[in-house]
Subunit: 409 residues, 2 copies
């Protein structure tokens, strides 16, 4: 007997036919005595349709964040009602519950709410009555009782947090890919599905550009220590288990994945004074505007003149604002020049296993060298190594690195 929280996204419940299929599958796979909580998103295009409707009132409806939440939370409410009807039609006891009814308490930051607390007493009661409990993902209520949506990745986060609050045995995230891959198969055809990955590795992968799971939900899983099973909506094969540590001594691979990010720009501020506080001046100006920087490299440029070069990367999204800020800062610091390169890409390897293996960086650089790929910058964390390369070399570089660490089976 197990208590399992399963989350199905909008595409999995995109039509009444698909909803019936989800219900059938759940009933088929349910073992006697299993307690099942389903967290679902709005049907396929519903959210987009609601946004279109709001645009009929005001071209920029998101300025009214509370009312957008009032509007958009209806999407999941429709899904849970229909899915529950599907269960009942198939003879399975079930009940639908909204975010408010599962005790999902959030702050009041409408459209981007954060979970503060979950008091799922109603969920427990309904499970004890033999119901499959069908829950509206993506939503909670604030202390006033107003509906609040959780923003990007909110349904996954709902599911994992609810699994945590229920002390569930596992949380299964059903998605249109069948698990977490060692790399993006579109870039690296040899990428393979991983059986297991740790929370920290998954978070590092996400930070470095791999997009299967939003970091929020992985952090929630780590916080509650709930294993997250990422698996396919369209197949019953096991996917990838995200958990605290490997269970199977599956240490065949020293690294868990090759991540890449080609939406980054390299900023170089040349000839800034090599004085205490200069780095602080530059990066405080950026962090004040909530701009995340990465791959910071400082090199001595000219000892005589006591000036240095400061190099870092930012994401494309932040580039226009960064340009403005850095021009001002460079002026203030009397820097010689600011160079911005957009034809770069960051390629990273991630793996908790690299901690005790000093040779891994060497192997990565070796693979890049064999691929005749120059390295523009290097940065490392406890469980990752990233190299900045020219964008046109990304594919070759990534495949060379992947082949180095994931030899053909």
């Amino acid at each position: 007997m197990a208590l399992i929280v399963k989350k199905f996204g909008g595409s999995s419940v995109g039509s009444t036919e698909k909803i019936i299929n989800v219900a059938k599958r759940i009933i088929e796979e349910k073992k006697p005595g299993d307690q099942i909580v389903l967290v679902v998103s709005a049907m396929g295009d519903t959210t987009d349709e609601l946004i279109e409707l709001a645009k009929g009132i005001n071209a920029n409806p998101y300025q009214y964040t509370r009312e957008m939440d009032m509007l958009l939370t209806t999407g999941e409410q429709v899904s849970i009602a229909l899915l529950t009807m599907a269960f009942k039609t198939l003879g399975q006891k079930a009940i639908s519950l909204t975010g408010a009814m599962i005790g999902m308490k959030t702050n009041s930051v409408h459209t981007k709410g954060k979970i503060i607390d979950i008091k799922p007493s109603r969920v427990k009661k309904e499970l004890e009555r033999g119901n499959i409990v069908v829950v509206a993902g993506f939503q909670g209520t604030d202390e006033k009782g107003d509906p609040v949506t959780l923003g990007r990745g909110g349904s996954d986060t709902s599911a994992v947090a609810l699994a945590g609050a229920l002390k569930a045995d596992a949380c299964e995230i059903y998605t249109d890919v069948d698990g977490v891959y060692s790399a993006d198969p579109r870039l690296i055809p040899d990428a393979r599905k991983m059986k297991e990955i740790t929370y920290d590795e998954m978070l590092e992968m996400a930070r470095l550009g791999a997009g299967v799971m939003q970091p929020r939900s992985v952090e929630m899983g780590k916080y509650f220590n709930i294993p997250i099973h990422v698996r396919s909506t369209f197949s019953s094969k096991p996917g990838t288990m995200i958990r605290e540590a490997y269970t199977m001594e599956e240490k065949d691979f020293l690294i868990r994945g090759v991540a890449h990010d080609d939406k980054v720009a390299k900023i170089a501020i040349l000839g800034v004074p090599n004085n205490p506080g200069v780095a602080h001046t530059i990066f405080a100006a950026l962090s004040d505007k909530n701009i995340a920087v990465d791959m910071i490299v400082q090199s001595i440029r000219n000892i005589e003149k006591n000036v240095t070069d400061m190099v870092f990367t930012v994401s494309f999204d932040d580039l226009p604002q960064t340009r403005k800020i850095i021009d001002e800062v460079a002026d203030k610091l009397s820097a010689v020049a600011v160079l911005i390169e957009e034809d770069v890409a960051k390629i990273s390897i991630v793996g908790a296993g690299m901690l005790g293996n000093p040779g891994i960086a060497t192997r990565m650089f070796g693979a890049l060298s064999k691929a005749e790929c120059n390295i523009d910058a290097i940065s490392t964390s406890e469980i990752s190594i990233s190299c900045l390369v020219k964008k046109k070399k990304l594919k070759d570089a990534a495949n060379a690195i992947h082949a180095e660490f994931f030899p053909e089976a």
Copy 2:
């Protein structure tokens, strides 16, 4: 300064354009210091669309009443979000509140809920903050917090009950007719709009087949003594005020209206024993099945044999069930025959003024006589007189009666 609850039905908010128009109108008509609560229904066809969606899961979705309520309550939630955005777009402070948020407590009879209590503290707070409060009609929550819809006429009932709980100065019901008429203009072209009508008269009109307002909401108005202003969505002219008594000594008309109902059948049970308990046997069998009977007439048929005829009417909806029950009862009572006539119609006059005017019945029968219309049965209440006539005579009879009591201006 006044506190006014206004209710707009689904056709008034059937598109984003109409929603914007409603918002504009409310802002235009709002006097400084007025506090406005708007109760709205789901947009035009939304409810039908949601029902269609549910039928994609199960051909008979209404068997799952709780889930239908979960589904259908999203309709009003969409309307209130959009209407609130429209107000804000026009620069008017506004906030949307669901049935749960206005403290609308119902019993747990899903899809046909009854209001138990309203605790509108949130509504008051938002009004004090200068908001127009936009409320989802038709819905409340039961003691478990589950959504419950109020069934037929539910939005009007929400509005009137909320007006009562808020001790509002008036409740305005916006509809596609411009008030309560002395008769159905489709049947009687001379029908005229009444300025005022009492709760009791309106209830009697509704009971006798006049359809402008559901009796539930009128009863609610009577209970709270809240004047209900029935008026047009498309015009700013005053409509009809439903209240406890006439305010304007507007006693020009002895009766308030001519109602008709051609969806009735006449049942005659011939030759039943004229013993104590026979009427009870017949009508208990019907009331046990929740069938309402009307116009009961008992006549002595044959004194020697001590048998009588029992005549009454039921509505078409209840006819199939009535047939079955009455055949059994007639058997048990050894009745001679059961006759069922469907080509009849009930025509009624309603008016609190008839209480002290014994000549009114005479004038009604006179009008019917002039129209050469036979009377099949007669029944009276304190404020109404009904006659059963042949359906083909309905139009002539109704016009003759109307002309008698509403002479041309």
